[in-house]
């Protein structure tokens, strides 16, 4: 069974201002199947539709047309969310709570029985290296610590699918290495991982397959065999497939 299926899923953003409506295509008819246990990377420039695809999957956005199916259920479906872990591109956590309180909250929201929550939170904080800061408020956490706390909330309920939106953006090299190890560990546990990134070198190291998005369209899907042992194969494929759609020109060097 596929863990995730996008079936002609599209999203058009409509904005009205002073009677004038403008439309922006966020995602255009995405067809994609991700089987269980696969690590799939979504590659693309800014505004290519990576985050839109993830938000449709998480039920944070509603598709304009088409549908997204997760574990056999058409999204948005509340009960399926208990089987997905999601870490957005930045740690959007409540800063007035401590690390432990945050994890206890997400454990409760993920339907973990009350008797298990404290122990789960404790072990998850230890797992992401935040045991020493468990009782500090998140307002006192550094950026790296917040990112770890965000990963912890995504994993506390031991989800079958882990969705990571640009998990290495803004991290230092050591933290990037740890995130990479985490993704491979999740794969070894049989989890399905979907993550988005700009970073080609990261994607090629951990993914079984990748999809390249450009202007809201899926322009290429590649499997590991197509880039493994072929230096620059993925980078060249990426450069050939994408074009800027954000209206930004190239930097002039003369």
């Amino acid at each position: 069974m596929n863990a995730i299926s996008f079936r002609g899923a599209g999203k058009t953003y409509r904005r009205s201002h002073l009677g004038k409506t403008t439309e922006t295509v966020g995602l255009s008819g995405l067809d994609l199947e991700i089987p269980q246990g696969e690590v799939f990377g979504l590659l693309g420039l800014n505004g290519s539709g990576k985050t839109t695809a993830i938000k449709l999957l998480m039920g944070l956005h509603f598709p304009t047309y088409g549908e997204v199916e997760v574990l056999g259920h058409v999204m948005p479906e509340i009960d399926v969310l208990a089987r997905i872990g999601y870490a957005p591109e930045a740690a959007y956590l409540n800063r007035s709570l401590t690390g432990r309180e945050n994890l206890n909250l997400f454990a409760a929201l993920s339907r973990i029985p009350a008797a298990e929550r404290e122990e789960r939170s404790r072990s998850m904080l230890a797992k992401v290296g935040l045991a020493h800061a468990a009782d500090k408020r998140l307002s006192e956490y550094s950026k790296g610590m917040l990112q770890r706390a965000s990963l912890a909330q995504a994993l506390i309920h031991e989800p079958e699918i882990v969705v990571l939106d640009e998990p290495v953006t803004g991290l230092d090299p050591l933290a990037i290495k740890e995130v990479r190890a985490l993704i491979l560990w999740l794969k070894s546990k049989g989890k399905t991982v979907l993550f988005s990134s700009h970073d080609i070198s990261e994607v090629e190291r951990v993914c079984d397959r990748i999809g390249i998005l450009s202007g809201g369209k899926l322009v290429k899907v590649m499997s590991q065999a197509e880039w493994r042992g072929k230096p620059d194969a993925l980078e060249n494929a990426f450069a050939e497939s994408v074009s800027r759609t954000d209206g930004v020109g190239e930097i002039k060097l003369d």
């Binding site: 969310l81 959007y92 409760a108 993920s110 339907r111």
Partner: protein, 254 residues
């Protein structure tokens, strides 16, 4: 129910740690203490002056806190994107709204109870007041606060601007004290359209005549039916506002 409980608990924690809210409560105590000094001027009516001043101060501070907190309650979580993580867990949007509202209501109610206790103790210095009567007056203020909280929450979601929601909430609060006058105006109006509009408006705006227990303090006491009806009105009005808030919130994308 477990989800509502979890959202409720973190909302209460968040408010308890919110310095602006604590300073509002402190301001209440300062006002009550100030009343003690000022009441010395009203030689013959000191007890009455202290009673009215204390109840009014408690109600005004609670209303201001409630409007401020509920207007920011969801919009701030949307702005900080903390709502992404909450709603990417198996949380019904209605449960989230209800938990946030009830948590805020309890927080403000707790502050009101503290201010009420302090006020009641001060009143003992002036010969005291019957506890039952005092509790009824306090409950009426609390009912008014709950109604304004539910209305402010709805306005914040419908208008998506904190400033506009706050301005409209204050407008409805003022209007709520003139429901009888609005209905009188509607009756006197010769134009059927204006009559319908004013009547509809007078029913949509909260009717604070149901909570004017203080008007009866020194005269004939209203019966149990009056108090019961005030309770029914609070529950009904809050339920209607929350149901509409859920409708608006269900359509939102983050």
């Amino acid at each position: 129910m477990r989800t509502i409980q979890a959202v409720f608990a973190y909302t209460v924690k968040e408010h308890l740690r919110h310095k602006a809210w604590l300073s509002a409560a402190l301001f209440g105590f300062v006002l009550l203490a100030g009343g003690l000094v000022v009441s010395a001027i009203a030689q013959d009516e000191r007890a009455r002056f202290m009673l009215d001043l204390g109840l009014s101060a408690n109600e005004i501070i609670a209303l201001v806190s409630m409007i401020f907190l509920t207007v920011h309650l969801i919009l701030q979580e949307v702005e900080s994107r903390a709502v992404y993580l909450i709603l990417s867990h198996p949380v019904r949007r209605s449960d989230y709204l209800l938990g946030r509202f009830l948590g805020t209501l309890l927080s403000v109610g707790g502050a009101m109870a503290l201010m009420g206790l302090a006020h009641w103790l001060v009143l003992q210095l002036f010969g005291g007041v019957p506890l039952g009567k005092y509790l009824t007056a306090w409950a009426c203020s609390f009912g008014k606060t709950a109604v304004m909280g539910a209305l402010s929450l709805l306005l914040s979601l419908a208008l998506t601007s904190e400033a506009a929601a706050m301005a409209f909430a204050v407008f409805f609060w003022i209007l709520g004290h003139f429901s009888a006058e609005m209905r009188f105006l509607a009756e006197r109006s010769g134009n059927a359209a204006i009559k319908t509009a004013i009547t509809a408006f007078s029913h949509a705006a909260p009717d604070f005549a149901h909570f004017n227990f203080r008007d009866h303090w020194h005269g004939t006491q209203p019966g149990e039916a009056w108090i019961l009806w005030a309770g029914v009105y609070v529950v009904g009005y809050c339920a209607a506002c929350l149901a509409l808030s859920v409708q608006v919130f269900e359509q939102k994308e983050f």
